[in-house]
C-alpha cells in the first residue's frame, strides 16, 4: 500500500538524484546550525571564556599543569585540547596532557576499581595544588567526570568543564568554570565545544603575550 507513496521503502528505488539533493540540503542545514550555535555560544560565553582563560593562565604561570579527560568522542576532544596546549601551531607550549591515552592505565583502573574512577585515580597520582583539570561531556552528567572533578576540587586543582544540553550535573557541581553549549545534538555540541575550547586556548595565550613580549 505504501509502495505507491513511498517507493523507497522496499529498496526498489533508483532515484539517486533525489538522495543526492537531500544530502546536499542536509549538509547546508547542519552546517548552518553548527555555525549559528558556535557564534551564539562564543558570544554568550565570552566573559566566561575570558575568565577561564585568565584563571588557567595564572595556574600555568605558577607552574601548574593541565590534565584533560572525557569519554568516547569527547575523549578525543580532550586529547585535541591537550595537544593544542602542549604543541600549538603558534604560540607558547604549555604543559598539558590527556588522561585517556594509556590503555594500560585505563584498563587497570577500570578492571580493579571500576570505570567511574578511571580519571579520579589518575588525578590522585598526578595532580598537585595549582594544576588544572579539564573535562568534556556532551550530557554534562558523565559519572567518571563528576568523580574526577570532585577529586580535583578537593586537591585545590582548578576545575574547568565543557558540557552540553543545560549543563547537566556538571552545571550544578560547583566547578570553577563550566562552559555550556546549549544544544541537544551531540554532534553540534562537540563542534561548538571545540570552538569554545579553542577560544579558551587563545585567551590563555593572550595572557602570556605580555610575558613573551618582555622576554
Amino acid at each position: 500500500m505504501t509502495d505507491f507513496l513511498y517507493p523507497f521503502i522496499d529498496g526498489d528505488e533508483d532515484d539517486l538524484g533525489a538522495l543526492m539533493a537531500d544530502l546536499a540540503a542536509s549538509v547546508r542545514d547542519k552546517a548552518a546550525t553548527s555555525t549559528a550555535l558556535r557564534i551564539a555560544t562564543l558570544d554568550r560565553a565570552r566573559s566566561q571564556i575570558e575568565a577561564a582563560g585568565e584563571a588557567m593562565a595564572e595556574r600555568f604561570a605558577a607552574g601548574g599543569r593541565m590534565f584533560t579527560f572525557g569519554n568516547g568522542g569527547s575523549s578525543t576532544d580532550a586529547t585535541t585540547l591537550a595537544s593544542l596546549f602542549a604543541c600549538p601551531p603558534q604560540g607558547r607550549p604549555l604543559p598539558a596532557r590527556a588522561l585517556v591515552e594509556d590503555s594500560a592505565v585505563l584498563t587497570a583502573l577500570g578492571n580493579d576499581v571500576g570505570f567511574r574512577l578511571i580519571f579520579s585515580r589518575q588525578l590522585i597520582a598526578h595532580a598537585r595544588p595549582g594544576d588544572i583539570a579539564v573535562g568534556f561531556s556532551t550530557s554534562g552528567s558523565s559519572d567518571d567526570l563528576l568523580v574526577a572533578f570532585a577529586e580535583a576540587a578537593s586537591r585545590q586543582v582548578l576545575t574547568v568543564g565543557f558540557a552540553g544540553y543545560d549543563g547537566g550535573d556538571m552545571g550544578r557541581a560547583g566547578l570553577d568554570h563550566c562552559l555550556v553549549v546549549d544544544s541537544d545534538s551531540v554532534h553540534r555540541i562537540q563542534e561548538t565545544q571545540a570552538a569554545v575550547a579553542y577560544a579558551v586556548w587563545r585567551a590563555v595565550q593572550t595572557s602570556f603575550e605580555p610575558v613573551l613580549a618582555g622576554a
Binding site: S34, T79, E209
Partner: protein, 265 residues
C-alpha cells in the same frame, strides 16, 4: 549571521588583547560541488558491500579515533554500528598494508602535506581500497584521494576549532541517511580501472611482495589479489616497491615521493 559563509568577527571582550575571531563556514552555502554528499554515498556503498573503514590521522591520532567511534558506537539510537577502526602506532603504512583488504575504505584526517598519508594514498590502488581524505591546509596538488573533503586552513586551526570535526560528523550523518535507501546501495563494483583497448587488460598498480626463485618473476599484490609478474622490463625490485602491471608484465616502476620507494616499510 549564520549561513553566510563569511568570517564573522566577534567583538573582543574587555581585557582581551586579541580578537576572538570566529571562522564562518562555507559549508552552510554548500553548492552542488560540495564533496560531502558524494563521499558519504560512496562510503555507504562500500559499507553495504562489507567494507571495513580504516581511519588514520598520523599527526592527530585522536581525530582517527573520533571518526572510528562515531561509526562503531553511533550516538543516535537505531543507527547501525559500522566497522571502522582507528590505526595508530609508529608505522601506519605498514599497519594499513597488513590489515586492509580489497573493497575496504581507508579514511585519513591530516594536513594536505602529510607525507605518511600521501604514501598511503599512492599505494591504495595496489591494495584495492577506496580512499577518503578529510584534509586541511593548502589545496592538495600531486596527491589524490578517491573522495576528498578539503578545508582551507591558513593558520592551522581547523584541527582544533571544530571544523574538521564538523566534516567527519557530517560524513557519518550522511552515510546513515544513505542507509535509509538500501535500494541505492546495491551492486557496488570495486573500482574498475582504465582498460587497454588493444588487449583488454588494464594498467594496474602493484606492490611487490617478494622475488620468486628465478629472480625475474616477482609476487605482487594488486586490487585483484596476489599474482606473479615478469619484471624483466623494470630491472631489480625490492619488497614494497610499486610497479605498473600490464598483461602480466611490470611495465614501469612507480616512484614514491617523500618516504622513498626503496625503503622497506
Amino acid at each position: 549571521m549564520a549561513g553566510t559563509g563569511t568570517e564573522v568577527d566577534v567583538e573582543p571582550a574587555s581585557g582581551f588583547a586579541a580578537t576572538s575571531r570566529v571562522a564562518g563556514d562555507a559549508l552552510s552555502d554548500a553548492s552542488a560541488a560540495d564533496p560531502l554528499p558524494g563521499a558519504a554515498y560512496a562510503l555507504a556503498r562500500r559499507f553495504a558491500a562489507g567494507a571495513t573503514m580504516w581511519c588514520l590521522a598520523p599527526t592527530w591520532p585522536e581525530h582517527g579515533r573520533h571518526v572510528a567511534v562515531e561509526f562503531v558506537h553511533p550516538v543516535i539510537m537505531g543507527t547501525r554500528a559500522l566497522p571502522a577502526v582507528s590505526i595508530t602506532g609508529p608505522d601506519p603504512v605498514a599497519a594499513v598494508r597488513a590489515v586492509a583488504r580489497p573493497g575496504d575504505v581507508v579514511l585519513a584526517v591530516s594536513t594536505t602535506d602529510d607525507p605518511v598519508v600521501a604514501e598511503v594514498l599512492r599505494r591504495a590502488p595496489a591494495w584495492g581500497v577506496t580512499t577518503a581524505w578529510v584534509a586541511s591546509g593548502a589545496a592538495p596538488t600531486d596527491v589524490r584521494a578517491d573522495l576528498l573533503v578539503h578545508v582551507d586552513d591558513p593558520d592551522g586551526s581547523a584541527p582544533y576549532d571544530g571544523r574538521l570535526v564538523l566534516r567527519y560528523h557530517l560524513l557519518w550523518e550522511l552515510t546513515h541517511v544513505c542507509f535509509e535507501h538500501p535500494g541505492l546501495l546495491r551492486d557496488d563494483p570495486a573500482g574498475a580501472g582504465e582498460v587497454c583497448i588493444t588487449c583488454g587488460d588494464e594498467g594496474r598498480l602493484a606492490e611487490v611482495l617478494g622475488a620468486t626463485a628465478d629472480g625475474l618473476d616477482v609476487e605482487v599484490r594488486t586490487a585483484d589479489g596476489v599474482e606473479i609478474v615478469d619484471t624483466s622490463l623494470v630491472g631489480p625490485v625490492a619488497r614494497n616497491d610499486l610497479l605498473l602491471v600490464h598483461a602480466g608484465i611490470a611495465i614501469a616502476a612507480v616512484a614514491v615521493a617523500g618516504l622513498g620507494a626503496g625503503r622497506e616499510r
